[in-house]
């Protein structure tokens, strides 16, 4: 039986790479996002890469009305329902300092929106007795740093949510993978200074797929970020508060 992957935030380059990878394995793919024209092009690509079926569907993290139709659509398909969450937005800390009202949108895009969606779809997954949720967070969620603590805190909220959801879905045979990418070479990071050890979206997609197959709980990708973040989180707060890493 063919599994379905709902891919939220399907226009991001990481999502595209992941959609391609599951398509090559012959999944059914629902690409969800806002730029329908772009999603339709990606859906064609998925079909030609090997997806049994691929469709573009509207999703806006800030508009909960778009959630139910996606869930209805997936519920009609046979096989396990899987969800991969790639949505997110990262206004710079400077922009947020200038306009604190941006925080609400940041939290919705990175946490509240996807969490609401997952909360709505969880019963359907439980009913089918399986399925995997991939939640893409960020290493920025591991510790609040002066450079982007609003984005980081939204991702931290999402991480905690995912850990709770994992606890819940495990009971019905489901699984949740929390993915913490380091710097990824995407449109979001293009031209931003201070990037190092940047990974390609294909590498991230590959790591995610392996984690799904092995039912890993939390992965850092590329893997060395576990070490980097281990060091960063070990720094005592009284020292950390004076650093600008």
């Amino acid at each position: 039986m063919t599994d379905t992957w709902i891919i939220l935030g399907g226009t991001s380059s990481m999502a595209r790479a992941f959609a391609r990878a599951v398509s090559r394995n012959g999944a059914q793919v629902l690409l969800a996002g806002r730029d329908m024209k772009d999603l339709e092009a990606s859906a064609s690509d998925c079909s030609l890469q090997g997806a049994i079926a691929a469709e573009a569907i509207r999703f806006d993290a800030r508009d909960a009305n778009t959630f139910a139709p996606i869930i209805d659509n997936a519920s009609k398909l046979e096989g396990m329902i899987n969800v991969a969450v790639f949505v997110g937005s990262m206004p710079s800390q400077d922009q947020i300092d200038a306009d604190p009202s941006l925080i609400a949108g940041t939290v919705t895009d990175n946490y509240a929106g996807p969490a609401t969606f997952l909360q709505m779809i969880a019963p359907a997954m439980e009913e089918r007795g399986g399925g995997t949720v991939v939640g893409v967070g960020s290493v920025a969620g591991d510790r609040g740093r002066i450079g982007n603590y609003v984005y980081g805190s939204a991702k931290a909220g999402f991480h905690t949510y995912l850990s709770g959801l994992r606890n819940r879905l495990t009971r019905s045979g489901g699984h949740v993978v929390t993915v913490k990418p380091g710097f990824v070479d995407t449109a979001m990071t293009w031209g931003i200074e201070g990037m190092f050890l940047v990974a390609t979206p294909d590498k991230i997609a590959d790591d995610i797929l392996k984690a799904v197959e092995k039912r890993k709980d939390v992965i850092y990708t590329p893997g060395f970020w576990r070490l980097i973040m281990g060091i960063i989180t070990a720094i005592p707060e009284r020292v950390f508060k004076k650093l600008s890493v």
Binding site: T11, S13, R16, D35, K37, D38, A41, S42, S44, D45, L48, Q49, T186, A187, W190, G191, I192
Partner: protein, 437 residues
């Protein structure tokens, strides 16, 4: 951020550019970028010289716009975004019995780059150039998208194929793929004694894919000796292509010194037994033999290298001897030297191919190389031949008109489309192309 300040080079690494580079992932962002700042589109920078460079200006990297948009299994027409790489298309479709009709020697070249230089492959004598298999192009100029084809706006179509990005960004194209038997190649290799023997063997080859490797260090009797490779697609099972490896650092100068190259070439020649041999290979190993070694251009060291590629008419084949003689005497060649028979097929005003023989040779960027190349260019021009702009970084602008008879038409058209020269590259400026309008 939209613009990222990058310093980059063409494949030969002799020239570099520092430019503001945008890398859109969606067509809508490409439109927004173009409407804001017109800039030449670039692909994987597999052109050798300065055709992908725009020092001090802007450039739009198309490599993230790379999706397959549609495939008609009946007639084999593939619609694909311009940043898709030829090798990926070959790997995807060969098992289903289709190949890009024309493939250059690297699978990393993008569809956009293949159109913009109207590239040729090992089947040029039969299949013609890349552009001859392009059914339609979606071109974005000044933020506006239009479809052009041999039946719709054919003038612009012929200026876009081989047009070095000067008509705008190629966003997507419909390509007529070629039926193939499967994803393996049957390859026959034979030793070739000398130049006359080579030309005769190339002329007589009946194979779909034919390419010659020349030992550019050989002199006298052996001048022009080498190996002829002939191949057909087939089906069956062969081991997967070997994993690719990267060259980790710039090689030292002696690595490609004349004695080393002579030794290497002699050994390379002897690899093929005297009576020849036939073997089967994965398609990618035949078409893209160098791609296994990622960043092999570092083998030429920090100073980089030039590739000289010319085509001369059949009646002027004698000048090949003069060229090989000069190259052999100069002792500057690298092991990479290719000789091929070309057909007449070309699709654009500025396309390279002509009926004749094409010779391509790499030279490490050392003292004496640029003067040698200048001589070879002069010989080419006098023989009524052409230098390939995808490889060029040195051509004397005064040779251009004689080599490219449609230059005037081309220059006129692009000056109308782009009066401010926003799509100019280091190459078009160096060759002063717009001055011919």
């Amino acid at each position: 951020m939209i613009w990222n300040t990058l310093t980059y080079t063409g494949w030969g690494r002799v020239h570099r550019a520092t430019a503001q580079v945008a890398r859109p992932e969606r067509i809508s962002s490409l439109a927004a970028i173009q409407a804001d700042t017109g800039a030449p589109a670039i692909g994987m920078c597999r052109s050798y010289g300065d055709s992908c460079l725009n020092d001090g200006g802007h450039a739009i990297d198309m490599t993230r716009v790379d999706r397959l948009l549609g495939f008609d299994t009946e007639n084999g027409v593939l619609e694909v975004e311009a940043g898709a790489r030829i090798g990926d298309i070959a790997r995807r479709f060969a098992p289903d019995g289709w190949l890009p009709s024309v493939m250059p020697g690297t699978g990393f070249a993008t569809v956009g780059g293949c159109i913009a230089h109207d590239v040729h492959g090992k089947n040029h004598h039969g299949a013609g150039s890349f552009g001859q298999h392009v059914v339609e192009i979606s071109l974005m100029s000044g933020g506006k998208l239009q479809k052009i084809s041999p039946s719709k706006n054919v003038k612009l179509f012929r200026a876009t194929i081989g047009g070095m990005g000067q008509t705008g960004a190629i966003v997507a194209a419909k390509l007529q793929l070629l039926p193939c038997k499967g994803d393996i190649m049957t390859v026959t290799e034979r030793r070739i004694e000398n130049l006359d023997h080579f030309l005769e063997a190339l002329d007589n080859s009946k194979s779909t894919y034919t390419v010659g490797w020349v030992d550019a260090t050989a002199k006298g009797e052996a001048l022009g000796r080498g190996i002829l490779e002939e191949a057909e697609t087939g089906y069956g099972l062969v081991p997967d292509a070997k994993r690719s490896r990267a060259v980790p650092f710039n090689a030292p100068g002696w690595a490609l010194s004349n004695p080393m190259v002579r030794l290497f070439n002699a050994a390379y020649l002897r690899r093929v037994p005297e009576r020849g041999r036939t073997s089967v290979k994965p398609i990618t190993e035949f078409f893209f033999p160098l791609d296994k070694l990622l960043e092999w251009n570092r083998l030429y060291g920090k100073r980089g290298f030039h590739q000289f590629q010319c085509v001369v008419p059949v009646s002027e084949a004698a000048v090949l001897r003069v060229m090989l003689d000069q190259i052999g005497n100069a002792g500057l060649a690298s092991p990479l030297a290719v000789l091929k028979r070309m057909g007449a097929g070309r699709a654009g005003l500025m396309s390279f191919p002509m009926e004749g023989y094409t010779l391509a040779i790499d030279f490490p960027n050392r003292a004496g190389v640029e003067p040698l190349i200048a001589e070879l260019e002069e010989i080419t021009k006098n023989a009524g031949g052409r230098v390939y702009l995808a490889k060029d970084a040195t051509l004397d602008p005064s040779h251009l008109m004689k080599m490219y008879p449609d230059l005037h038409k081309f220059a006129k058209l692009i000056s109308e489309i782009d009066p401010d020269g926003m799509y100019e590259t280091d190459q078009t400026r160096r060759l002063n192309i717009r001055s011919h309008a």
